[in-house]
């Protein structure tokens, strides 16, 4: 302890409250053991096969196709989730109608419902003989077991992120701004577009990035509805599972590293949006 004490006091401001050493120490130990060490092992494993090996796996046509499916459909799904999320958040905070409170609680369902349950439920609904799949089947449309099914599952997963990031900001809108805008002669739609929407943009972008990041890594709700056809409807997380079952640990580690890099990029983008928003609008 005698050697650790001066180091500690340089890092931490003095306080009368006890327990810093033990709580900080345990937190770091637990974080390192559960999160940091295993993630480091992944990077080491992926780097062990060298740059050429890494590139060979990353540019394999099946891997590229899976990454394209994962990222492309996730982008599209996050976009749709953001648009409808904004509408849902607006309706839930600004309008009053019967059952509003229950519907507000239901928005969190994709957080609470285990992904495997969501997966088989969506597959049952959108299968050709399902309630919704049966409706569109006469028109020659197939949703389940095609990329469209992946899209449906990812919108489901991303929706709460889109709603919950903009909801508090809509609730905080200062009504005087709207009144001022109306008094100055702006139409309601002009007020909506020019006064109310701009401050919400950072939150909408954050919600979009969160929904995207979640969608890219999503596994459980997708695999039941996707059909999992290589090159068509095979997502990157599934390919990791397949590589593992073939004992191709290095291949699995490479795909995982690419996905990890993309999600860190998404995290960075979210932080940049929030920093920009603080400067521009004074709030997150």
């Amino acid at each position: 302890m005698s050697s650790a004490a001066p180091v500690l006091s340089r890092l931490k401001r003095p306080s009368v409250i006890p327990g810093f050493g033990i709580t900080f120490g345990f937190s770091l130990f637990y974080l390192g053991l559960i999160v940091l060490l295993p993630l480091a092992a992944l990077i080491v494993r992926a780097s062990r096969i060298g740059w050429d090996g890494f590139l060979a796996v990353a540019t394999d046509s099946r891997v590229l196709a899976a990454l394209k499916v994962s990222f492309g459909i996730s982008l599209l799904a996050a976009l749709v989730a953001s648009v409808f999320g904004l509408l849902v958040a607006w309706v839930l905070t600004r309008y009053d109608f019967p059952g509003r409170r229950i519907i507000d609680a239901v928005v969190d369902l994709p957080f609470a419902l285990p992904t495997a349950v969501a997966g088989i439920a969506l597959a049952a609904l959108y299968a050709p003989n399902g309630w919704i799949g049966g409706l569109v089947e006469p028109f020659g449309l197939k949703i389940a077991y095609t990329p469209a099914g992946i899209f449906i599952a990812l919108v489901f997963i991303g929706l709460p992120f889109a709603v919950r990031t903009v909801e508090p900001l809509i609730a905080e809108i200062d009504r005087e701004q709207e009144e001022a805008s109306a008094t100055l002669g702006a139409s309601r739609s002009r007020t909506l577009w020019k006064v109310l929407l701009p401050p919400l943009i950072p939150a909408i972008l954050t919600g979009f990035a969160l929904a995207f990041a979640r969608a890219v890594g999503e596994y459980g709700s997708v695999i039941f509805i996707a059909g999992n056809l290589p090159y068509v409807s095979e997502i990157a997380p599934l390919l990791i599972v397949i590589k593992l079952s073939e004992f191709d640990y290095a291949g699995a580690a490479v795909i995982a590293t690419i996905m990890l890099a993309i999600s860190f990029l998404a995290l960075l983008v979210i932080n940049l949006i929030q920093a920009w928003s603080r400067r521009r609008f004074g709030h997150v």
């Binding site: 931490k12 306080s15 974080l31 993630l39 349950v117 008094t183 309601r188």
Partner: protein, 291 residues
């Protein structure tokens, strides 16, 4: 509230801070139809499919020893991993909220890290560490200790994916509450432990319950991460979500949806309690933007 008309606007008058009724009702209808289609219908279909062959067939799904083993394993895994993350949440929030030190925001970012990692990757990292070809694999198999395809691996993967839930609820909450009450208790001669039990814990109890609720729901429902480390051994390493998958892939739909209905019930219970806590004790929860 004062700038909002309390009664419906008189004939011919329209509030300037809302849309015309036509627009309003169109927006409400579109939003509700969208939510019904995307959220409510999947929930309804779980129960419809589970009871498709009647209550008898529904109940038979739980008579099966493998189903009971899966339920038991899920409860065991949650009973180990949730307390671990509660302990971490309490220590991390104490260190972060009650003290000033360098690198605090980095620490907070790292705690959130597991949320941005794909569940499949979360499982993979433990296979790479403890699997047969993993870093510690040979050592573990020599010692006769199994992590992957066994309970420890399932617990580790679950702990990883539920890692931030309690901490990220408690950190902002304890930061809002500051340190003055604890300082007062300490000045009056209370020990550190006593201060925690009698001052801090009562202040954060609803936030703690909120975090535990979400942590538990995810722990019991996790699929991707657990699926990678479990090995799908029936009756041994199958949790409830994995059992659902196996039954579904065997075209045993009634049994699959019956087990799924238990998990859906857990989700409804979680949402109910969560909404209740937000409504009744909203002031004692952290003012977070999103999950």
């Amino acid at each position: 509230m004062s700038d909002r008309p309390l009664s419906p606007s008189p004939e011919g008058w329209e509030s300037v801070t809302t849309e015309r009724p036509v627009v309003r009702w169109t927006a409400i209808t579109v939003a509700l139809v969208f939510l019904a289609l995307f959220l409510l219908l999947p929930l309804v279909i779980v129960f419809v499919e589970a009871f498709r062959r009647g209550a008898q067939a529904y109940l038979e799904a739980f008579q099966e020893p493998d189903a009971q083993a899966a339920i038991w394993l899920t409860l065991t895994v949650a009973a180990i991993s949730v307390p671990l993350n509660v302990l971490f949440g309490l220590t991390a929030s104490w260190a972060i909220a009650k003290f000033d030190f360098k690198g605090k925001s980095l620490l907070i970012t790292l705690i959130d890290l597991p949320f941005s990692v794909s569940p499949v990757v979360a499982g993979l990292i433990y296979v790479l560490l403890f699997g047969a070809q993993g870093f510690f694999g040979p050592f573990l198999s020599a010692a006769g200790f199994k992590v992957i395809f066994a309970l420890p691996g399932i617990v580790l993967a679950t702990v990883f994916v539920t890692f931030p839930f309690v901490a990220r609820e408690l950190i902002p909450l304890m930061q809002e509450q500051g340190t003055s009450e604890e300082e007062a208790a300490l000045t009056l001669g209370a020990s550190g432990w006593r201060t925690f039990w009698t001052v801090t814990l009562p202040n954060i109890r609803w936030g703690l319950l909120y975090g535990v609720l979400l942590c538990n729901a995810r722990a019991m429902g996790e699929f991707g991460a657990v699926s990678v480390v479990s090995g799908h051994i029936r009756g041994l390493t199958n949790t409830m979500p994995l059992h659902v998958e196996i039954l579904y892939n065997e075209y045993n739909f009634v049994a699959a949806f019956a087990v799924a209905s238990l998990l859906a019930g857990l989700a409804i219970f979680t949402l109910g309690v969560k909404s209740f806590l937000e409504w009744r004790y909203g002031d004692s929860l952290s003012k977070r933007v999103s999950h």
